[in-house]
């Protein structure tokens, strides 16, 4: 006789992966940060029933808005140019991940890459697509597989990080992107529809950009997709200089792009304004404004790595004695999401996570790095200009793959 309870006890050993928790938290931080809520639900399960009065008010409101729209449409000249506000909504935006960037038109968004496992090189660096594009499970070796709606399109950037792309050597520069002018069938092994691809070599790395369009994609959609692919560029503006070893901090050059020393993971690239100093050691690195008595004259930004998963770090951070969290909000730095805490540390200085938090107000951003956490501790900058410079420095952070 089959004992189902006994057989199903096998589920005791099945645990959801840690990556799933991290992804859920990343998504939550992203959704709550961007305020993308209240869209159409796919299910009514557990939803609060609307009251008849609410329905009536909503119906009247909708009818009023519809009426106004119809009147506005009739009263306007058909060739009237769009207003600046409307144009602003359709402004292309630049997205960057893992050292590459793309320029996306309106209606396009960054898509979560399909898993590259077990392939480690090349890796999928950035995926952008129209609404409805999503990764699919597959056994595709390179680039993964995506569900593409019939009228949709997707652009996938992959990079050979420790080797070169197979076949003929790729010429440096972005010239080959100009060949992306049309799509044709059977371009890809894992996608039967129309597509196009090009390889480029930028700052020592071979990249391939793949374009895939749905079966009923319009010509304007295809043109958009090809334009997105042609916009591919590297976010690294040349060779970076390693931060000097310290302390004390040494003067930094505003014209240079700096990077953390070899062995410090994750590798961080950054730029600083004039008059800034900095140093790095095994625990992390710091940059700050001005120098007085071997230390920064104004505030500083201290970055350190914590070898604990993001969720565990957050939990531990919130339990630290002597530290009061006054506010917090979701944050995103260099494509990695996390949380920024405004904290006060009354009394004596507190060593937290290997860092140093002085008496008074400070700000700590904890970023999720797939199994590890990076803490960016911003100690107070005096004056508006210093705070704006600190913001710009943090915005310049990138984390090469």
């Amino acid at each position: 006789m089959l004992d189902l309870r006994e057989v199903l006890s096998d589920f005791d050993n099945a645990q959801p992966p840690e990556e799933l928790r991290q992804r859920v938290m990343r998504d939550a931080a992203e959704v709550f940060a961007t305020g993308r809520r209240g869209g159409k639900s796919t299910t009514n399960a557990g939803k609060r029933p609307r009251r008849p009065v609410a329905w009536a008010v909503a119906g009247l409101g909708a009818a009023l808005v519809l009426g106004l729209l119809v009147i506005a449409a009739h009263s306007r000249d058909a060739h009237h140019p769009p207003r600046p506000a409307q144009q602003a909504n359709h402004r292309p935006r630049v997205v960057s991940r893992n050292g590459v960037r793309l320029t996306l038109p309106s209606g396009w968004r960054v898509v979560r890459p399909a898993s590259d496992a077990p392939v480690t090189d090349p890796r999928t660096l950035l995926v952008a697509g129209t609404a409805g594009v999503r990764p699919q499970a597959s056994r595709c070796q390179i680039g993964g597989k995506y569900h593409i709606p019939a009228d949709g399109a997707v652009v996938i950037v992959i990079g050979w990080l420790s080797s070169s792309a197979g076949g003929a050597p790729v010429n440096p520069g972005r010239a080959s992107l100009d060949d992306l002018t049309s799509v044709r069938k059977s371009t890809f092994e894992c996608y039967a529809g129309r597509g196009a691809a090009a390889q480029v070599h930028l700052h020592g790395i071979d990249y391939q950009v793949n374009v895939m369009v749905g079966d009923r994609a319009s010509s304007s959609r295809i043109a958009d997709a090809l334009r997105v692919a042609r916009s591919l560029n590297s976010t690294f503006g040349g060779e970076a200089t390693v931060l000097p070893t310290g302390p004390p901090p040494l003067p930094l050059d505003k014209r240079l792009r700096y990077q953390t020393p070899s062995g410090f993971t994750p590798e961080v690239h950054l730029s600083v304004p004039p008059g800034w100093y900095g140093y790095a050691n095994a625990q992390g690195f710091s940059v700050g404004k001005g120098l007085r008595a071997h230390f920064y004259a104004d505030g500083q930004i201290y970055v350190s790595r914590i070898d604990q998963p993001f969720a565990a770090t957050i939990k531990a951070f919130r339990r630290l004695h002597g530290l009061t969290i006054t506010a917090w909000k979701p944050a995103s730095v260099g494509g990695h999401t996390g949380l920024t805490y405004a904290i006060t540390v009354p009394g004596s200085p507190l060593a937290a996570f290997g860092g140093y938090i002085p008496d008074g107000n400070t700000r700590a951003t904890l970023l999720d790095f797939d199994g590890a956490t990076v803490m960016i501790n911003v100690q107070p900058f005096h004056g508006q200009a210093g705070r704006a410079e600190a913001r710009r420095v943090i915005q310049s952070f990138s984390f090469p793959p």
Binding site: L2, V7, D10, F11, A28, A45, A137
Partner: protein
């Protein structure tokens, strides 16, 4: 405290108070399942965890923290249920669970009961994915493209689950593994207790036929 967390703290299945005996649903007609060796009463642990969470976070719990708490409390059970519903395909369970949580964030203010909402949304995503896989690939998708050896479960369990359709896999899992009463399974799957009973009956009949066939062979 957010509505979602408050709803989560409602007693589930085993009586109105947290002092009820774990694993003995008060509103079910079937006899209490025998205690399984090596398994702790997960329902009680779940409850205690949530109460502790409530006490700790009573002052001011934010949306992201509430999602974190929710995932800690029910993420594992939703994932396992989707693993069962998908016939042991972990990547489908991962995707469905993550997407369900993301959609929950997007509808956070309007969702009154997050747990059933998550179950139903994730289950529909699993069914969509299975349907899509079947459409995209020719042949026996489960056996060829997703061999049982790659599953997070043993080959025997995957083989057993794949004898059943997805809806029956889910109710079998919730009834026999999660020890939930029919009424709660109905609530989680957006069905009725009678329909759940019928699905269980059909699943048992199907499995019995499979075993008899195997013994004849």
């Amino acid at each position: 405290m957010s509505n979602g967390l408050r709803a989560l703290l409602r007693p589930r299945g085993f009586g109105a108070t947290p002092t009820s005996t774990p694993g003995t649903p008060s509103n079910t007609r079937r006899p209490s399942p025998p205690a399984r060796a090596g398994r702790s009463p997960t329902n009680l642990k779940h409850w205690v965890g949530l109460v502790a969470l409530c006490v700790v976070k009573e002052a001011a719990i934010s949306d992201v923290e509430a999602i974190h708490a929710l995932y800690t409390a029910v993420g594992g059970e939703v994932w396992r249920a989707m693993l069962a519903a998908s016939g042991g395909r972990a990547e489908v369970a991962d995707e469905a669970t993550a997407e369900a949580f993301k959609r929950l964030c997007q509808h956070w203010k309007s969702v009154r009961e997050p747990r059933p909402w998550l179950y139903r949304t994730a289950y529909r995503l699993v069914v969509d994915e299975l349907r899509r896989s079947r459409r995209d690939q020719v042949g026996e998708i489960d056996a060829v493209a997703y061999p049982p050896e790659q599953s997070a479960l043993s080959v025997e369990v995957v083989h057993l689950l794949r004898q059943l359709p997805a809806d029956q896999r889910l109710v079998v899992f919730l009834f026999y593994y999660a020890d939930l009463p029919l009424s709660e399974i109905a609530m989680l799957t957006g069905s009725t207790a009678v329909a759940v009973r019928i699905r269980l009956h059909r699943a048992r009949r199907q499995l019995r036929a499979m075993i008899e066939e195997a013994s004849r062979a």
